[in-house]
Symmetry: C2
Subunit: 246 residues, 2 copies
DNA sequence: CTAGTCAGTGAACGAATGTTCACTGAAATA
DNA sequence: TATTTCAGTGAACATTCGTTCACTGACTAG
């Protein structure tokens, strides 16, 4: 809106270590803090990785409020406590950073599959367990899920494609699980995929609704999750009657 | 990316009428084109409305490639053939224009409801009819649907809220239809809404997949629509077995 | 110990942005 | 006919942007 806000100042997430360079040997040995010690110890490669990760984290935070296409390289660098030019040591553009963020953000989703499978082999109500895990993952990783839902159909083609590819992978994992559960019921792989796709659609819609919850009404979370549970049950009920046309 | 592209030039969508101002009376009467005649005839209010609509149209086109948050006021004005300052005569900001675009873009969706209802009372397979109508509406109004799907979880809060409100309305219309169809089967309104929500999720996911089709593979459209049809059938099958817990 | 690597610096560039302001001239009003 | 209204103009502004370039200095490798 108003193009007058941030002076080009280094502040925020940068380490205090930057400010203690001209320090006497005595002070360095006696007053050094733990985090400073870590930084002093870190190898060059480690420091680079740390900055890189910081850039990713900072961008993920910024996407909480706006979309990737409207986030500037300078803004990310500023927030990460480095100079704009240093950004290029890690990524060739914001878009490229976004593509790498996709991997990063898919981790909670992949974890969901593992958790669900473990819960499924263990005992009890698979659907209830799945929905619980979904709720927990979204609660614990809101920024990642927000990034995925915001950029899934967002304005950056490369990111959109990367997310589509990852989600296709996710759907095919679910298809495998469904195949295992319907073994002996003569389902075509096409129908299995169709069903997995429907479930993923329902779950992603749930994720998006969870993310839009007004923090003043945390009770909405239960309402949404409970509805998601019934939706999955409705689908399961349909499956129990479905016969694939061959 | 590269901040060096568009010279500030008026061109494109503006009417040729702009260029014939110093014209002799004779020419004006004999060589004037139809569109010029329309413009000359138009009242001030009509001309204003025309420009306003042009701004909306141009923005919708631009959103085909990028997201609302990354579209500049100057760009929209340039594309519409007016000077940046004139933009303010119609909208107070790009975001405000976006909110008005929501109404505009919901029209095909509302039309879908009407068409489907008409088809349902007439005859035959409701699900197949619905999917056909969906495919046609998306094919005929890709820009509107792209805007809705891109900005539904996009970076502009006001637009996001407006879309959420409209979609909630859409879901409740579908809920009404479902209530009519399940009359006598003892469905709770909560379950009806849950089901309508699931159907809307499935249909919106279908819309988004239709929009992502590579134009070199138009046969994908049938594959996607056919899958959507089976998904709706699966849900309908589940409904036939569902009994609401009261 | 020395030479080289390379993450981060800081100034500079040309271009684009949102917004202001005083203006013009044709259509609407009186 | 004379006056007012108002959509559109065009110059100017302060600011942000992405990208270039030569640089520094702490770490690494020989």
């Amino acid at each position: 809106m108003n193009p007058a806000q941030h002076p080009d100042v280094n502040m925020g997430a940068c380490d205090l270590g930057d400010m203690v360079t001209p320090i006497t040997p005595v002070d360095a040995r006696t007053l050094v803090s733990v985090s400073e010690a870590v930084i002093r110890t870190a190898s060059r490669a480690e420091r680079k990785e740390r900055t890189r990760q910081n850039l990713l984290d900072v961008t993920l935070k910024l996407i909480g409020k706006r979309s990737l296409a409207s986030i500037s390289l300078r803004e990310v660098a500023r927030e990460a406590g480095i100079v704009p030019t240093a950004f290029y040591r890690h990524f060739e553009s914001i878009d490229a950073l976004g593509v790498e963020l996709v991997d990063e953000s898919m981790r909670p989703l992949r974890q969901m599959i593992r958790d669900t499978r473990r819960g499924a082999t263990a005992k009890g109500d698979i659907i209830r367990g799945t929905v619980d895990i979904l709720g927990r993952q979204v609660r614990d990783n809101p920024d990642q899920f927000r990034f995925l839902s915001r950029e899934r159909y967002g304005g950056v083609t490369a990111v959109r494609r990367a997310i589509a590819t990852e989600l296709r992978l996710f759907t095919s994992e679910l298809t495998i699980d469904l195949a295992r559960m319907t073994a002996g019921y003569d389902w075509t792989s096409d129908d299995l995929e169709m069903t997995a796709d429907l479930m993923v659609s329902a779950m992603l819609a749930t994720v998006m609704e969870l993310l839009e919850i007004d923090k003043r009404h945390p009770e909405d979370e239960q309402v949404i999750l409970e509805r998601a549970e019934r939706q999955l049950r409705l689908i399961a009920l349909g499956m129990s009657v479905w016969r694939s046309a061959r």
